[in-house]
Subunit: 219 residues, 2 copies
DNA sequence: GTCTATAGGCAGATAGAC
DNA sequence: GTCTATCTGCCTATAGAC
């Protein structure tokens, strides 16, 4: 049960059980919050005992940190994939919005958005990692916005980092307020408004139809 | 200790102790979340026993509902006050943004924003009240946007309710992502971007300086 | 790695005296 | 209205057998 999936995904510091713990805990945190789930919840779903969990993650704070760490890493990897696949900056921005839409569709909150709400109750280690997550998102997005402005695919008015922050806040907020309605359309309608102001303008006021509009509509 | 402050504030279905319980619990929820505080926390701060709390609010769910009810009522009252005081729609929008800025400045999350994150873990009664809060905010804001468009103080492109939803999401999200940084400027910078797109345009692209910009800058 | 057993504390909640 | 005392259950965490 231990020597099987080692070669399946390359890197795996956490063992297979640890990975499954992270998977379950991740969903629980995204749905219920860090203060809204317990080791017992994870143990029940994994059909393992509470004590076994502590073997893999000594304390809940350790599990929490591992959770944010993995989520952050995967998110950054997704950004790398977007850079690799998509061409124009407006398409990359649209893909970024789709990352959030995908999370919302799975009826979860963004892990770090949820933890931002609970921020003041979290262990210091988790707090630092959460800040890292937002900082790195901001850097990536700011770069996309700048490149979009350079190549003419995005209309950027204002400092890119400030615009990036507003976008991240807007997307997190869209998830948050659409949550009680459990309605993807509600999320998407907000998201498309966030990006429509960045659509490159052919004329004075109206936003031209771009690949980005296409994407964010369908997100 | 009971017959003193009765005439101080007019209406008071909850007694004085109940009011103080609500005050303390409100802060706790806005900072720590509904799942992040306990009756014992409130009891400690109020210097009263756990059992006494149950006299005023039979179960935690009842306290939670009373909390949302009061927050909603007060928020709506604030909107009424804005309607009464402020003249132009852009000034009313700016005042609306200031409501959120004031909450953020007190190092709290919007009560209903916090509860939106925890939504799926909350008692049904609280869930309904939270939806009411957002619905009423949306209605009020949509009306302001429409009036702004009519009188020419706001540039409204798109359905007012959709724009209202995006604004609410943007403000809640701004609070959320600025939280880990504990930085009012970070909140305000996002908020001003949310409203700048609505500033009435004198010419084609640049946003004119209006009372709204003034307010949201200083918020 | 997983288990049983258990510690020690805190959660929400109730009974009944004052 | 507030108290003491108490219940039951869940929480995080540990010891030690297998």
């Amino acid at each position: 049960m231990a020597t099987r999936t080692e070669a399946e995904s390359g890197r795996r510091p956490p063992g297979e059980t640890a990975t499954r713990i992270l998977d379950i805990a991740e969903e629980l945190v995204q749905v219920r919050g860090f203060n809204g789930f317990s080791y017992a919840d994870v143990a029940r779903r994994l059909k393992i005992t509470n004590a076994s969990l502590h073997y893999h993650f000594h304390a809940k704070a350790d599990l929490g940190s591992a959770l944010v760490e993995r989520y952050r890493r995967r998110f950054i990897e997704s950004l790398g994939a977007i850079d690799h696949e998509a061409g124009r900056a407006d398409a990359r921005l649209a893909a970024y919005v789709r990352l959030y839409a995908d999370v919302f569709r799975s009826q979860r909150m963004c892990l770090c958005g949820m933890l931002a709400a609970e921020y003041q109750t979290l262990p210091a280690g988790m707090q630092e990692l959460i800040v890292d997550f937002f900082d790195e998102n901001e850097s990536w997005l700011a770069r996309v916005l700048e490149e979009g402005a350079s190549e003419g695919s995005l209309a950027l008015d204002g400092p890119p980092r400030e615009r990036a922050r507003a976008l991240i806040g807007g997307l997190e907020g869209a998830m948050l307020v659409a949550r009680p309605y459990d309605d993807v359309e509600r999320f998407s309608a907000i998201a498309s408004q966030l990006t429509s102001g960045l659509a490159a303008r052919a004329d004075g006021s109206g936003a031209a139809a771009t690949a980005m509009d296409e994407f964010s509509r369908r997100a």
